[in-house]
């Protein structure tokens, strides 16, 4: 099965200062980056966002869920084939739109 990592951004406000999930994940599944890059000033910490980028590497150990101080992380698992089907459909849509 493959992880679906949902992060509630109304709860996860300052991930770069908190960084608990980034630090604890044994599979380095998470990344945290700016959603905007400004010229001439530092990106505001509130513009940083955690994403479960490498969710295909998630073992499901649950350490991130346990360590999150705001309970912002939700972990669900889908069958690989179910997810594969979803992404194949996305790709088919992408190809159709390209050929229009």
């Amino acid at each position: 099965m493959i992880a679906q990592i949902n992060i509630d951004y109304t709860l996860c406000k300052d991930p770069l200062s908190c960084r608990k999930c980034l630090s604890v994940c044994p599979s380095v599944v998470f990344v945290c980056g700016p959603t905007k890059v400004w010229k001439g000033r530092e990106t505001d910490l509130s513009e940083y966002k955690i994403v479960g980028r490498y969710f295909d590497k998630c073992s499901g150990c649950g350490d991130c869920v346990k360590s999150c101080p705001t309970d912002a992380i939700n972990l669900e698992f889908l069958l690989r084939e179910q997810l594969a089907q979803k992404f194949r459909e996305e790709r088919a849509t992408q190809l159709r739109e390209r050929n229009v």
């Binding site: 770069l16 980056g33 890059v37 594969a84």
Partner: protein
């Protein structure tokens, strides 16, 4: 010589060619929306964001054509702007004699993937005229810079090599070289994406490690040195095994061997590996 050398090497390895550190290459002004205000990244969260998100989907779907298309398009862009290559310790030290100024700065990968706080994260080296800009505007470039002397830089490079970090050159606007990294799997985004998704943003180096099976005593000193999953011990023959196809030529295993049983060979001297970048 790799394809970058052919284009930018001027007869030698491209990262030993002083022209590629030259001021005039820094910095090609961006056009369009990137020239003003903010760069929005709807995919969120730094460093190859969109590409890797798509690659993970393609991998899961099992659609190889899709995966190849993502890579081809992303790399075509990357090779024109921003990519890296593994270098040996000797080459790294030579670069420290070519490039100036040298400055320690915060590592973007360790921030993005591990949330390393700036004050603990001066683990990357920026080089060349770009560093004056980083010094001038620390609010834009998190943490600013710490300028160091070539001698300090060499000592630091030796320490990093000893501690098992892979050393790479990084391009910012091909062929301008602006960074010297000390990378590891999986904390380095470039190494991670290359090893886990075969995304060739990071090129292999110009050398390959080869075990001399006559000499190797199976002492295990080299084990754990490889960041590229190319090294293990053949337990029953009691010899180190380097997967030369997978080897990036960083030389970390070579310097760990107490009896010089691992040799660093020129990649191009081996026909079977000569085009394996």
């Amino acid at each position: 010589m790799c394809w970058v050398c052919e284009q930018y090497g001027n007869g030698e390895k491209w990262y030993l060619n002083p022209e590629n550190y030259a001021r005039r290459l820094y910095k090609v002004r961006k056009e369009g929306k990137e020239s003003t205000g903010s760069d929005a990244d709807p995919q969120a969260a730094g460093m190859g964001a969109g590409v890797v998100a798509e690659l993970v989907k393609a991998r899961i779907s099992g659609d190889l054509v899709w995966e190849e298309e993502i890579k081809r398009e992303a790399l075509e862009q990357a090779y024109k702007t921003h990519f890296g290559q593994v270098v040996t310790l000797d080459e790294y030290l030579q670069i420290l004699d070519i490039a100036y100024p040298l400055a320690k700065m915060t590592c973007g990968c360790r921030r993005v993937q591990r949330g390393m706080p700036d004050e603990e994260n001066f683990t990357c080296m920026g080089i060349g005229p770009g560093m004056y800009k980083w010094e001038r505007w620390p609010e834009t470039y998190r943490g600013g810079v710490e300028f160091i002397t070539p001698e300090e830089a060499k000592q630091w490079a030796l320490m990093n090599h000893k501690e098992g970090r892979v050393q790479t050159v990084d391009v910012f606007g091909t062929p301008y070289i602006g960074g010297l990294c000390q990378c590891e799997y999986p904390g380095c985004v470039a190494v991670r994406n290359r090893i886990d998704y075969d995304f060739k943003f990071l090129l292999k180096g110009h050398t390959v490690a080869k075990v001399d099976r006559e000499k190797c005593t199976g002492c295990k000193s080299c084990l754990g040195r490889c960041q590229f999953k190319a090294l293990n011990l053949e337990v029953y023959t009691n010899k180190a095994y380097v997967d030369m196809d997978q080897c990036f030529g960083c030389g970390l295993c070579v310097t760990a061997c107490p009896i010089n049983a691992i040799e660093l060979l020129d990649r191009e001297s081996m026909p079977g590996l000569a085009e394996n970048w």
